[in-house]
């Protein structure tokens, strides 16, 4: 591996990311499975870094999962997207940041299709007026929330309490980065670092002290596949693709995985549990799995947030061995408590996965 070669490619993909003033749009999957990640994103950007990140309760799903499961027409999803953009304009913003990668890819695709086919854009604008009485608008800058954390990575590093370093050996943690397929595979220039060697997560990990691992199936999809997961009978597709990735990364002995797509951490985490329970195979040390994180969780950890405030208790792969490795303190007794110390019982323990 020649690191300099990657640096040359990264230099070719400089994405313009405005410093401040964003209209924030949530992700169906991230808010459902990683609600604390979105809370952490807003807390870091607004309260720790003093940025203006605006959210309105009136925005909705972009319809992306329904669209990529082929259950709504292209015109429908485009009009929903136009509604989101119109809300941005209505609240006085021109920079749009979304939490979801499926949304991000779909926004890129939609903007590109509108650019190429102005008559379609016209039709969508009419649809929007007919259905919502909103004025058509397009964002000046479109970024994914991981682009913003990438942008702020050095400020985050300067406020960090922990580094992605093994406290016993002093060695950088070995980190696998997993990029959502819809981040830049369709439009390499829209992603930080392009499509083949995206830099968005690498930059964070390097800024926070870790070391990135490049393994053969790095670029492969986590296996969501929309309908290939949503229908139980199709889930073999989903787990077999996750399985392929883990078999490929296993020899590199990663300490952790960082992701930027909301779905991927769910699948990479949960399918490890299924593989362990059905085949007895685990990929981490001593019968543990490899813990999988959102980038917000990793940013939160290095900044010293309480792991249970970050929602790490809702992962199926236990995170404690990694917290111990870094030296992040946590109180096991508080893991499953609700607000104000209310005890909520504990999840059952898996048979195989520790």
């Amino acid at each position: 591996m020649i690191y300099e070669g990657k640096k040359k490619i990264w230099a070719d993909y400089q994405k313009e990311i405005p410093e401040d003033h964003y209209f924030y749009v949530r992700s169906c999957i991230r808010q459902s499975f990683f609600p604390a990640s979105e809370a952490t994103f807003l807390d870091i950007t607004r309260n720790k870094l003093g940025k203006d990140i605006f959210e309105t309760e009136h925005h909705t799903t972009c319809g992306g999962i329904a669209y990529h499961s082929d259950t709504i027409p292209q015109e429908t999803v485009m009009t929903i997207i136009a509604r989101q953009f119109a809300l941005m304009k209505k609240y006085g913003y021109e920079n749009y940041v979304c939490s979801c990668i499926t949304s991000f890819g779909l926004y890129c695709e939609t903007l590109e299709t509108w650019r190429e086919y102005p008559e379609l854009q016209q039709k969508i604008a009419e649809n929007l007026w007919k259905s919502c009485k909103l004025e058509f608008a397009k964002p000046k800058f479109l970024v994914h929330a991981s682009d913003l954390i990438f942008k702020y990575r050095m400020q985050i590093a300067s406020k960090s309490k922990f580094k992605l370093v093994n406290k016993n050996t002093g060695e950088p943690l070995r980190v696998v980065e997993h990029i959502g397929c819809h981040y830049s595979k369709m439009f390499p220039s829209k992603g930080v670092g392009g499509a083949e060697y995206p830099y968005v997560l690498v930059g964070m990990v390097e800024a926070w002290g870790g070391q990135i691992i490049d393994y053969p199936e790095r670029r492969h999809c986590c296996g969501f596949g929309f309908r290939q997961y949503l229908i139980k009978g199709n889930r073999g597709y989903s787990v077999s693709n996750t399985h392929k990735k883990f078999e490929s990364m296993e020899p590199f002995k990663p300490d952790m995985i960082i992701t930027n797509c909301p779905g991927c951490p769910y699948f990479l985490d949960r399918w490890q549990y299924v593989i362990a329970e059905t085949q007895g195979k685990t990929y981490g040390e001593n019968g543990h799995g490899i813990p999988v994180f959102t980038y917000e969780e990793v940013a939160g950890l290095v900044m010293g947030y309480d792991p249970w405030d970050l929602g790490l208790q809702t992962h199926q792969v236990s995170v404690e061995p990694l917290l111990d490795k870094i030296g992040i303190p946590y109180d096991p007794a508080k893991k499953y408590l609700g607000r104000n110390g209310k005890y909520l019982g504990e999840p059952q323990k898996p048979h195989c996965l520790k």
């Binding site: 169906c28 999957i29 808010q31 459902s32 609600p35 604390a36 809370a39 959210e55 309760e57 009136h58 909705t60 799903t61 999962i65 329904a66 990529h68 499961s69 082929d70 259950t71 709504i72 027409p73 292209q74 015109e75 429908t76 009009t79 929903i80 509604r83 299709t113 649809n127 007919k130 259905s131 919502c132 397929c181 369709m186 492969h220 999809c221 969501f224 596949g225 309908r227 290939q228 949503l230 229908i231 139980k232 009978g233 199709n234 073999g236 597709y237 693709n241 985490d269 549990y273 299924v274 809702t314 199926q316 499953y336 609700g338 607000r339 019982g345 504990e346 999840p347 059952q348 323990k349």
Partner: protein, 231 residues
Amino acid sequence: MGKLYDRLMQDYRLKEGLNACINCGTCTAICPAAEFYRYDPRRIVDIVQHQDDSQIEELLKSDTIWYCGECLSCVTRCPRNNKAGLIIMALRSLSIQTGFFMESEKGRQMYLLCKDLNSNILNYGYCVYPRTFKYDGHMEAGLVWEWVEKNMDDVYDRLGANLDKEGPGAVRKIPQKDLDELKRIYDVTGATEMLENVKRAGLEKARELGLTEEEYCQKLYSECSPKHFNH
């Protein structure tokens, strides 16, 4: 040039997605579906570019077009700027419009997908909504999800979400006025009509099989013939 091909060409995804295929196989080489299913996206693009309606009709009736996971990894690699994933999306839409989707096992899954996803969107404003994502149907979501489900309000509250409550925040209650706008978008853009057609076809099939709607949904959710697999 055939009539089905003409209809396909009205789809912007086909206009954007089909340049001219050189049959090099870079799409299939990295396709997550190609290793798992009996599936070759290159062949699909080639069939479409031949513009032969009888072959296109066969595709629309087949399981083949439903194997793709829409990851769009194929888009990055094509040396001719084709977008196999988008072509497949256009084929799926046409399969639904023509009713051919009912002729394959994977195509018939549309009934359940349409029902689940769009009831989430129209009732809650989200594609995925925690209260309708059941551990029972998603055991792989883990024992931790079983625990979340049991303690849903407390867990989301603990994690800074705003579950089913007013104002902004994660999994908040989206105001009815906004949900009404989504419904009007569905009406204006053809989604409502499409969903009704899929529903009608599915219920007819259930009747034909002598199944209640619930039994039919259960069948759609779980069934999987071994004929789909590559190995």
